[in-house]
């Protein structure tokens, strides 16, 4: 087995009296897609916010690639090799598709405190951006402003930007949200391609996609882990069926 790229232990986040994430322990290895599912309000997005550094945990520990990153700010976590995509599309609307990815790739320069040479002339940055665009199948759209893309394409761009930062760990917050059938299928194909080189944590409501992609499933309810295991074992788990998946006849 490859090394564990992402590990949490006893992770907890309180908002006042509400415990959004409660004693969560999970692991994700490179080459593995770990999906977190659960009803709305289960704490899935909060969990991702903790892992990406958007929120600081109340207690517990987060390890990424063997390093303790608990409480680090988002830019430090990103620099350690963590890429995140957002549930609500979070891109630079007024920039072109290429510039969105170029800027993302530029973040991997040792420093952007460079004032003289034009940014467009950093060849390695341009290549990383072009590669991410290629991988996310946005070829031919490079010079369009991001705001002119369709919803599905914006989601693809979101993933492309994340890839342009060359992450080892990918945190994907509902990449299929609001997508039509064809768009979803394209995104699932894209995510499948990414599994071999990345440790991926996926939060998603689309069960068909989850069972098609994930090698490991964690079910969260009310901030806590209800069950964790292979897709087959989760499908067979009675507790999970009651809490979330609905009765067997229904599915």
């Amino acid at each position: 087995m490859t090394e564990v790229a992402l590990r949490t232990a006893a992770l907890r986040k309180d908002f006042g009296g509400l415990t959004a994430v409660n004693d969560v322990a999970l692991e994700c290895r490179v080459g593995q897609m770990h999906a977190v599912i659960g009803p709305n309000g289960a704490g899935k997005t909060t969990l991702i916010n903790l892992l990406s550094g958007d929120l600081a945990p109340s207690s517990g520990r987060i390890e990424i690639l063997g390093r303790d990153v608990t409480g680090l700010p988002p830019h430090r976590i990103s620099q350690l090799g963590v890429g995140r995509s957002y549930q609500r599309t979070n891109i630079f609307m007024r920039f072109t598709v290429f510039e969105n990815c170029r800027l993302a790739a530029q973040s991997r320069l040792p420093s952007s405190m460079r004032f003289l040479r034009a940014a467009a002339r950093y060849r390695a940055v341009n290549e990383a951006a072009a590669q991410a665009i290629e991988l996310a199948e946005l070829g031919g759209r490079e010079q369009l402003p991001a705001s002119s893309l369709s919803h599905g394409e914006r989601r693809q761009l979101e993933v492309a930007m994340t890839l342009a930062t060359q992450p080892k760990v990918l945190l994907l917050d509902e990449p299929l949200a609001g997508m039509g059938g064809e768009e979803s299928a394209r995104m699932v194909e894209l995510l499948k391609k990414l599994v071999p080189g990345h440790a991926m944590l996926l939060v998603e409501h689309d069960m068909d996609a989850v069972f098609a992609l994930a090698g490991l499933l964690t079910v969260m309810v009310n901030g806590a882990v209800l069950a964790s295991g292979t897709p087959e074992s989760i499908r067979a788990n009675r507790e999970v069926q009651e809490a979330y998946l609905g009765s067997p006849g229904h599915e």
Partner: protein, 316 residues
């Protein structure tokens, strides 16, 4: 890097030639007037680096203009000239240091709070200077002799001569313009435009945005200091009004009028406001009413500023 439309390039070239040729025909009054315009142009460009390019609306930018001007006054012995490079270096250094200190605090805030704390720092400095008798109090102080540039007894230009000062100001304005063009196309420039567009996303991409904003703030403060040094040397006078929020507000108006985040907008805005002021003052003593009306109209008709007349394409 985005290119400017051909029409604007031609217009800029014509403008530059006209500016360069003007001292051959212009009267002294207009020579000095345009020198002031160019100084304000530098000042406005420095603010636009914050407002238009990084999305930081500052209402305290006159602080850096003012401290550099006062630094020149303090460095100038009575009835003697200060050294050109030393006084310029010290003035810029003081402005940069002030921007570093102020920026360190104000950049922790955003939006309306940023406007309020920059205003607060500006007014604090204003009242300090206003109430300090060794700085000349509310009247300010004169600088009787302009700085002198001498290299082993030889001086290439004499700031006491209006035409020479004019060319120095022109050279500095062109230098700042070109420097900002290069800067904005650089990786640093792309980072600040990303911060303006979506700072949160920049952080998630791994950029330590505070550091970039601070460097940008210091740069903008230093360039404002250049304008302040020039203004003090040119007018031969410093007073607390140079640091006041009126000054910061008028500057913001110039940037908005000219076009935020456009390369030539701030210069256009500074020139337009000062020229109109002069014209309207000649017509009526209620000139401020006319000027206000003009600004309202232009914001309504040209929401992206005067530069919109020339720059048809929307920039990144």
């Amino acid at each position: 890097m985005e290119r400017q439309p051909r029409a604007l390039q031609v217009l800029l070239a014509i403008g530059l030639v006209a500016l360069a040729a003007f001292p051959l025909v212009g009267e002294k009054f207009y020579l000095q007037f345009i020198t002031k315009l160019m100084i304000m142009g530098i000042f406005a460009m420095s603010l636009d680096l914050l407002v238009g390019h990084t999305g930081l609306v500052s209402l305290g930018h006159a602080l850096f203009f003012g401290v550099a001007a006062y630094a020149l006054m303090l460095l100038t012995p009575e009835y003697q000239a200060a050294g050109f490079w030393t006084s310029l270096g010290v003035s810029l250094g003081v402005a940069a240091l002030a921007a570093l200190i102020v920026g360190f605090f104000v950049l922790r805030t955003t939006g309306i709070y940023f406007i309020m704390v920059t205003l607060a720092f500006g007014q604090m400095t204003y009242f300090y200077v206003h109430d300090s008798s060794h700085l000349g109090g509310s009247d300010g102080k004169y600088i009787y002799v302009r700085p002198v540039l001498e290299i082993a007894g030889w001086s290439p230009f004499d700031l006491e001569r209006p035409a020479h000062f004019y060319y120095v100001a022109l050279a500095m304005m062109v230098f700042v313009y070109l420097m900002l063009r290069v800067l904005l196309a650089s990786p640093f420039g792309r980072v600040i435009s990303g911060i303006k567009e979506n700072e949160h996303r920049m952080r998630m991409l791994g950029f330590a945005t505070f550091r970039y904003k601070l460097v940008c703030f210091v740069l903008a403060g230093t360039l404002a200091g250049l304008a302040g040094w020039l203004a003090a040397a040119h007018d031969g006078l410093v007073n607390p009004e140079m640091l006041s929020w009126h000054q910061s507000g008028q500057l913001l108006m110039m940037v908005i009028l000219g076009g935020m985040g456009t390369p030539s907008g701030p210069i256009l805005g500074a020139a337009a406001l000062k020229v109109l002021e002069l014209v309207f003052q000649g017509w009526t003593k209620h000139w401020q009413l006319l000027l206000g009306g003009f600004i309202v109209l232009s914001v309504l008709l040209l929401p992206r500023g005067l530069a919109q007349l020339f720059e048809s394409k929307r920039r990144d």
